[in-house]
């Protein structure tokens, strides 16, 4: 998946959920990506984060960490 597309899309999601306030914003970003992004898109996001996360909104980076943790937990459970 094109990194710049994922970057832009993730930041747009963060722009929306930023208004949710502290504590809720990153959760909102994570929940939205969990609900609507196909797994390879999430993997692409993790790669962006692993590459330094340049240009990614801090909320996206926080959400990506939570998503990755949940993905790992699900993979472990499976």
């Amino acid at each position: 998946m094109d990194g710049s597309d994922l970057n832009r899309m993730a930041n747009q999601i963060a722009d929306f959920f930023a208004a949710s306030g502290d504590g809720e914003a990153a959760k909102g970003v994570a929940a939205h990506i969990r609900s609507f992004w196909e797994p390879r898109m999430r993997q692409g996001l993790y790669r962006l984060v692993d590459a330094g996360g340049e240009g990614l909104d801090p909320l996206v980076i926080e959400a990506a960490a939570a998503l990755r943790k949940a993905d790992k937990a699900a993979a472990g459970a499976a």
Binding site: M1, D2, D5, R8, M9, Q12, I13, D15, F16, A18, A19, S20, H32, S35, F36, W37, E38, P39, R40, M41
Partner: protein
């Protein structure tokens, strides 16, 4: 089955208190305000008439419907005489018969006696009335002055106007006024010199006539006649079906000779349109039998190879073979498919089932991605379900109508006629649109309050309107307290009341003077029952979903939800956009909008389908294109969508499709996308389909085949065969059985069946045990989600902005006579009105660039460029240009960008920074190079 003859009651029905009277000795009870003529028909007594028809208010001009009423002098016209309690009416007496014969003699003395060669022979009310009154002679003769040689107007491609046969009943004029609301016709001249005139003798083609067909429908003689009837003769049988153009979903009688359509006639019993039509549905059906139709499957190894016609068996086996090889090599998720909003619910359901069950993934999306996906998201978040709240009839009860980002007179013309009727009765209109759309200055309506919002400024505007509502104490506190969440309302109200959301603070973003915004807010909140109708000008933005939620917030805050006359209503673009979304076409949702991660919902489908379903969402269309470019998505099944013309950022789409190993297109015609395809599976037109469409008001209408499939298979049978070839046996005895499965698995459809639809005509979902005959108005007592949820709608400007290099903003849309990518309408005579896409530009912007109307101009963005002809018009605001996307040669989506809605990836078609310059270049895909 023969022709369907609908009863004409002569005058419209009324809703008043019951009144009993006696007509020819028969006692009948009708609502107060009903005419004697209609009451007579209710009693089974037919009164002769010519100028009366029940789609129009009584006119009282033909003097044929005279009756005698005990205790009253003279012979009043029954059409203009309202019933009264105890009234005793005689409709057939010697005196009346003599009068009627006299009237008919006068009519016939100036009417050609060519009945045997007349196109209306057998379908002529004048002929019928001559028989009904017993006309045996015309004592005046035919030698006097007459209109027999009056020249015909044959300029309209679909109907002729033959003034020699006109009886000046004015039904056409009144139909244009009362039903259509265009006021294009008039009676010009006086006395014997009177004649029907479109726009002051322009001829129909050059007049303001919009070719809706209302005048043709109303004409009682052969004066206004379909050219197809003149050419073919009278039809012999009718089939009730549903139009396949916009989301209004008009019911039509397909009137046939054998398996050939003679004409499509709007059906009075169709609740969505109540006997009205537009130029597309009424006349532009010829594409369905056009010579360009591809009727046999075709395959090719490479896209550079010529197509090879093959049997269905070979095409299915070939496709399945290529899909399987790709999945074995690249994984299950390497293929996917797209469903079409032009197809029936049953066809869409089967395709998404094929993808989830046979492909084994959730890589299914639909063309709603590019139009109303934000509606699905936004209304589900706030109200709990992804659909409009009202039926179309509701607009007749509205006091204030807010039209945002929609152009109903062009996009949804039959609904626009309902809306204009209400506006002529005095409802107030707010139009939010960068362009001065036709509704703003429609005839005989109060002037609209037009807010010319800057493209990209929608959310700023809706926040500013809501700010006025909250800060000026216009919130409907009782409604919010009873029906909505306390906490989300409090959070939203605090946000929206912040000074930064005031109209004055947001003027730069909205482009609308603050005073106008305040006026609109006050009118919407305090003007009585207020309804919102919106279109793609809301959704096709980077904040499309936010805007939908902003509209829902506003409606909830003012209590404008949950009853007639109010609501939040998406005007859906295609005939079955609502249905294709309902049927599980989105990659994250099963039919009925249940998320794929919902174990219980998935379990229901797994049990019936006998297969495991992926719990993760699949790829959306733009994600598929992106994945194709990285090599992880290799094949696609495209049902009835021309991606290469309709998707934004066309170059990217071309590159993606070319990167795939197998592209399968199922369509009526070869198109831009099939040029990049390896398999072409011929589709069926709406005239061949058996199934249902769901319109913008959630109304499920039957689509009935009027002729056999020209390809030998129904489209759902093709999907079944492909699924079976892929190792997932799938079959149904008929389309009805597919709907039965949908009903069994989808709570909102649980009461739907073909039998019920045939019995009731149509139903609006939810249709289940709680609402066995459907649900016209949603959220009446409570929201689907329980309490209404307010969402904070922070305005985030789109990154696409005017710059020094690209100083104008392009916005795209559609026009009355053409439809989306034009695959259908370009293959009809509708091209006489719109032979090419043109660029509308404000006079000042044109002058600055030395551009005159008709000049060829280059339209360039950071993505690419194209050329087209300019049209200078002050309906455009300065700084904004507009064009349509109906002609592939325009390649307008080479110019549009990659930007999309944050929540749904609905493309931002409505905001592209562009420059316009004069050019002598011909359009030729400059951007593709």
């Amino acid at each position: 089955m023969g022709l369907i003859h609908e009863t004409d009651f002569g005058t419209p029905g009324r809703d008043g208190e019951p009144v009993s009277l006696e007509i020819d000795g028969i006692t009948v009870t009708v609502p107060q305000g009903t005419s004697v003529m209609r009451a007579a028909m209710e009693a089974g007594v037919s009164v002769p008439k010519l100028c009366a028809t029940d789609s129009l208010e009584a006119f009282g001009s033909c003097r044929l419907c005279l009756v005698e009423i005990d205790g009253r002098k003279g012979t009043p016209a029954s059409c203009t005489t309202p019933v009264a309690p105890g009234m005793k009416v005689s409709t057939h007496t010697k005196r009346l018969a003599d009068l009627r014969r006299g009237v008919m003699e006068l009519y016939i003395s100036d009417h050609p006696l060519d009945c045997l060669t007349c196109a209306a022979n057998g379908d002529c009310e004048l002929q019928d009335m001559a028989g009904a009154v017993g006309l045996r002679e015309v004592r005046y003769g035919y030698g006097g002055a007459n209109h027999f040689d009056a020249p015909k107007d044959e300029s309209n491609p679909y109907f002729t106007f033959d003034p020699a046969k006109c009886i000046l009943c004015s039904r056409c004029v009144r139909a244009c006024d009362e039903v259509q609301g265009t006021f294009a016709l008039t009676v010009d001249g006086r006395g014997f010199g009177s004649q029907i005139s479109p726009g002051g003798f322009d001829g129909f083609l050059d007049s303001e006539c919009v070719s809706c067909g209302a005048c043709v429908q109303a004409c009682p003689t052969a004066t206004l006649t379909e050219k197809s009837v003149i050419e073919m003769g009278q039809p012999e049988r009718s089939v009730l079906t549903t139009c396949a153009y916009c989301g209004v979903g008009c019911s039509f009688k397909a009137e046939m000779q054998g398996n050939e359509v003679v004409r499509m006639v709007p059906y009075k019993g169709g609740v969505a349109n109540e006997g009205h039509s537009c130029v597309k549905g009424r006349f532009a059906w010829g594409y369905a039998v056009h010579r360009d139709r591809v009727l046999n499957p075709m395959i090719r190894e490479r896209i550079t190879d010529p197509w090879r016609e093959v049997s269905w068996d070979e095409a299915i086996a070939y496709t399945a073979g290529r899909f399987r090889v790709i999945q074995e090599k690249y994984g299950r998720g390497a293929i996917g498919g797209i469903t079409s909003s032009r197809c029936t619910n049953e066809e869409v359901y089967v395709v998404q089932k094929m993808i989830r069950a046979a492909f084994g993934n959730n890589n299914v999306d639909t063309c709603a991605r590019v139009c109303h996906s934000p509606t699905g998201y936004g209304l589900k978040q706030t109200f709990g379900t992804s659909a409009g709240t009202q039926d179309f009839r509701s607009v007749a009860k509205s006091e204030v109508i807010m039209v945002i980002g929609a152009n109903p007179t062009d996009g949804h013309p039959v609904f626009a006629s309902r809306m204009k009727k209400r506006l002529r009765q005095g409802a107030r209109l707010i139009v939010v649109d960068p362009r001065r759309i036709d509704l703003v200055n429609a005839p005989h309506m109060p002037k609209a309050l037009h807010l010319p919002v800057r493209p990209g400024g929608n959310v700023a505007l809706i926040n500013a309107i809501a700010h006025v509502v909250v800060t000026e104490g216009l919130v409907n506190e009782a409604f919010v307290r009873e029906r909505c969440e306390d906490d989300s309302f409090a959070r939203w109200a605090a946000f929206i009341a912040e000074p930064r959301n005031a109209p004055e603070a947001l003027e730069d973003s909205t482009g609308v003077p603050a005073a106008q915004v305040r006026e609109a807010a006050r009118l919407y909140a305090t003007g009585g029952d207020a309804a919102i109708y919106y279109g793609l000008g809301v959704t096709e933005h980077s904040q499309g979903s936010t805007m939908v939620m902003g509209l829902a917030n506003l409606a909830m805050a003012t209590g404008n939800i949950g009853r007639e006359g109010v609501g939040v209503n998406p005007l859906r673009g295609q005939n079955n956009v609502q249905g294709s979304c309902d049927m599980g076409s989105f990659p994250h949702e099963l039919p009925g909008y249940r998320h794929v991660s919902d174990d219980a919902a998935r379990g229901l489908f797994e049990k019936v389908w006998g297969v495991k379903i992926e719990p993760e969402p699949g790829l959306r269309i733009p994600n598929m294109m992106s994945a194709a470019l990285d090599g992880s998505f290799r094949a696609i099944f495209i049902q009835g969508e021309d991606l290469a013309q309709s998707e934004p950022n066309t170059k990217n789409v071309y590159d993606a499709l070319q990167a795939m190993d197998c592209v399968v297109v199922q369509d009526l015609f070869l198109n831009e996308t099939s040029g990049l395809a390896h398999v072409f599976l011929p589709g069926t037109s709406f005239l061949e389909k058996d199934g249902t469409f769901t319109n913008a008001e959630r109304r499920i209408n039957r689509v009935r085949p009027v002729m056999p499939s020209k390809t030998g298979l129904d489209e759902w049978q093709v999907a079944c065969r492909l699924a079976t070839a892929l190792g997932y046996p799938m079959s149904y005895p008929n389309a009805s059985a597919i709907m039965d499965e949908i009903a069994a698995l989808t709570p909102t459809f649980s009461g739907v069946s073909f039998d019920k639809l045939d019995r009731l005509g149509s139903v609006q979902w939810p249709c289940n045990d709680a609402a066995p005959e459907g649900t016209p108005i949603m959220h009446m007592d409570h929201f689907v989600r329980g309490k209404g949820h307010f969402v904070v709608t922070e305005f985030v400007p789109t990154p696409e902005r005017a710059t020094r290099m690209y100083p104008l903003i392009l916005t795209t849309g559609r026009i009355l006579t053409q439809y989306n990518v034009g695959a259908q309408t370009r293959r009809t005579d509708n091209v006489v009105w719109h032979p090419e896409d043109v660029l509308e530009i404000h006079p000042h912007d044109a002058e600055e660039r030395g551009i005159a109307s008709g000049d060829r101009v280059m339209l360039a963005s950071r993505m690419g460029s194209t050329t087209l002809h300019a049209l200078i018009t002050d309906r455009m605001p300065q700084g904004v240009v507009y064009t349509t996307f109906h002609h592939p040669i325009t390649e307008i989506n080479f110019v549009t960008t990659e930007l999309s809605d944050w929540a749904t990836n609905c493309p931002e078609y409505k905001v592209t920074a562009v420059q316009v310059t004069r050019t002598n270049l011909q359009v030729d895909a400059e951007a593709a190079e």
